[in-house]
Subunit: 258 residues, 2 copies
């Protein structure tokens, strides 16, 4: 075991900014569940781990690689949370720029600017066994500290790709044979429960705004979650949950298929 | 227009506590969307409204009853939020203790202790046209300030009833002919998409804990949301969304029925 070097201390701070993550191509993964997920899914990415005695003990015997032991007080100085769990990993951000998407659909987030929402959506997508999450520049960085904490490290099981616009995202998807873009719309569209094509080599777009996605490209189809209460639409995380579980409903054993 | 009396000022403060709400049988409804909902759904409950010039203007010409105009600074003193919208209503808490439940199922919350989650779930239930929300003592007070803000005032369209235990809740439901209790369980149970009886004069229980509801009464049935990713369960608000939208799926025009 070692203590933190000066370089590592300054890196921990820099990784709280987008610029710092870009320069180092690393991210911070803080908290017990997120670190556990990273250790289980992508230990190869880890540069070093930091924790207190308490944090180390909470891992239940798992030996984190390149571990630096620090005091509770020292940990508080670089923790991003008020009640920290005393465990954190620093790792490289994986690059899936050239990886062809797998599965029945690409899940796309457009303008999801809240890291808590982005994290929750990532967790749900991970929980249903999804892989490819593509997003546009208006969304927050999935490798930010808060997004990783909210996502409980689901990021390390997913393949993220970033695009300047929904149009360039759609073009890239087409080049892999994912030809139809469905955009969740709070006001109008085909009913998500009835649309047979929804998961047939498609792109499913969830927008972060009350009005749905920013500017759906020409030829895209709108899909709506019906709300009989005539009241208001679901937020982005809830809308994502409904559509992702509709996929589960169709593809599970005994389901009606995609 | 008047300014706030001393009694009203002290009531605004007292209503932030459960004891204060119990003594006065009133609640605070703060923020533009929540106040709009209260004005539209239950103006009869309103005791008085308070706002700044800006807050009043944001109502777009709607005249709030018994309005007290205050300065931005004065509003900040009793607002429960950092960036307040300058509009608030105080109203009586409606009592549905003797009202028979309507609809196909009673929606029950057991131990949902987070006001944000409780509020979000209330909004979703309101959005699908639901009415009866029953809850147990381990849950937070739906008439608390934060629950009303998170619910955007959905409370004023719902009928809440509080029970000491899930057992007493189930007994009361039975007396109205709602005989079967379904408890959402993160680990095991009948699959929510396949269970034909789910909305046939039933009670649907969502628990706030990771292990689901506290102590399901004898004879209750467990229902699970399938998660193929073998990862973790959805949080209470997401689980509620999936099950409520499954109800919409079955009962909409062209659905398969309850």
């Amino acid at each position: 075991m070692q203590t933190l070097s000066r370089r590592e201390k300054s890196l921990l701070c820099a990784l709280l900014t987008r610029g710092g993550r870009k320069r180092s191509n690393c991210c911070r993964c803080e908290g017990l569940r997120a670190v556990r997920e990273m250790l289980a899914e992508r230990p190869d990415l880890i540069e070093f781990t930091v924790g207190t005695g308490r944090g180390l003990a909470s891992l239940g015997g798992v030996e984190p690689p390149d571990f630096r032991l620090v005091s509770e007080e020292e940990f508080s100085q670089f923790s991003a949370t008020v009640n920290h769990q005393g465990i954190l990993a620093v790792g490289r951000i994986p690059d899936f720029a050239e990886t062809p998407p797998q599965g029945d659909f690409i899940f796309a987030l457009d303008g999801v600017a809240d890291p808590g929402n982005f994290g929750t959506i990532s967790r749900t997508f991970r929980a249903i066994g999804g892989k490819d999450v593509w997003y546009t520049e208006g969304s927050i960085d999935p490798w930010g500290d808060k997004a990783i904490r909210s996502g409980l490290g689901a990021q390390f099981s997913l393949r993220f790709r970033r695009f300047a616009t929904l149009e360039s995202l759609a073009d890239c998807a087409k080049s892999f044979g994912f030809n139809t873009l469905f955009v969740a719309d709070p006001h109008d569209g085909e009913v998500c429960f009835d649309c047979d094509d929804l998961f047939r080599k498609t792109v499913l777009v969830i927008g972060g705004e009350a009005n749905g996605a920013s500017a759906p490209p020409a030829g895209s189809r709108r899909v709506i979650i019906p709300m009989p209460g005539d009241y208001e639409s679901l937020n982005a995380a809830q809308a994502a949950t409904v559509i992702l579980l509709e996929y589960v409903r169709r593809t599970r054993k005994g389901g009606t298929g995609c």
